[in-house]
Symmetry: C2
């Protein structure tokens, strides 16, 4: 797939077909994550793939979804919920730089997901202690982010906005999510 198609067609997906994702496909996502840049090349991130229905269901229970369109657009277990998750983990001394590293690695995952026909939702809002419990993590490790995965069952669209406009995504009457994004001019200064 062309890079531009991945970058500009990528949208957060919150409704998934109930089709299993093959391990080899998820492996391609991790392969993209691992080659992302990171501070000092220190590679402090690890990845836990959660793809058995039992474990994925337990992780789903501790996640929060789409603040601006809930409860209407909350995924429903066995109907529209993600079929797998990737937990992005790091040592508990996680700095802002490690979060930036996670952002870059996750962006590679999200772009690769578009190419592979997958949908994804990057989740920062979840019960961290319960995630560690479900994944039986050592006390020295924490889950920074979750990436929900599945074959997409919706097609959100992007809208360009200017400075001062609302950034809240919204559902239209046809149940399509619209995602406002600032124009280049709204967010850029030139020196």
């Amino acid at each position: 797939m062309e890079l531009n198609n991945a970058i500009f067609q990528r949208r957060t997906i919150r409704r998934f077909k109930q089709i299993k994702i093959e391990d080899s496909v998820i492996g391609e996502l991790i392969d993209a994550a691992r080659v992302a840049p990171c501070g000092g090349n220190s590679q402090q991130l690890g990845y836990i793939v959660i793809r058995t229905p039992e474990k994925a269901g337990r992780i789903f229970e501790i996640t929060a979804w789409g603040g601006h369109v809930k409860p209407h657009r909350n995924p429903v277990p066995e109907k529209s919920a993600p079929t797998a998750f990737i937990a992005v983990i790091a040592g508990k001394t996680d700095s802002k730089v490690v979060h930036a590293d996670a952002g870059a690695a996750i962006q590679n995952v999200l772009l690769k997901a578009v190419e592979l026909g997958l949908g994804a939702c990057w989740i920062g809002s979840f019960h961290k202690e319960k995630a560690s419990e479900i994944l039986q993590l050592d006390e020295s490790i924490s889950v920074l982010y979750l990436v929900a995965l599945g074959y997409p069952d919706e097609k959100p669209v992007m809208e360009n906005i200017n400075q001062g406009d609302s950034t809240k995504y919204y559902l239209d009457k046809d149940d399509v999510i619209h995602v406002p994004k600032y124009s280049i001019d709204a967010i850029t200064q030139w020196y």
Copy 2:
């Protein structure tokens, strides 16, 4: 360009040809940054493009480069230094999530740079107060990261490593930078 080529050919560049980058080209990088995902779609990031030789030179003076290969590989002004920078800015209440947002947006910039024939170095190590002073930023705003840009004048290569191996990048006898990256198996658990 194919997405995979951008993801896997992208390497941090620290030696640049002294050729001006057109504004329209830098605009394409910002266009990729603005459509990246972010927490709650709140879009708290802004971008300052620094491309006049005077301003770019002043920013260069306050940056630190390639800890594992310095001083040998420090870029030299008017010889191998970046010809432009993008400063990624946000309000001073910058949270870990905003740093993760910055990571995702910067990754889009870095991938798009590969496609456009540019090299880039994501810099977290710089004098933040002096950056704010040079850019005449309001007290409520800070620079999270700098992205150095220019047409590349080196070709670093990636090496696969296993858990326990050193992650330090290094120069070989031919003055090529080698960048070790963990294999998928070294950083992934499956549930």
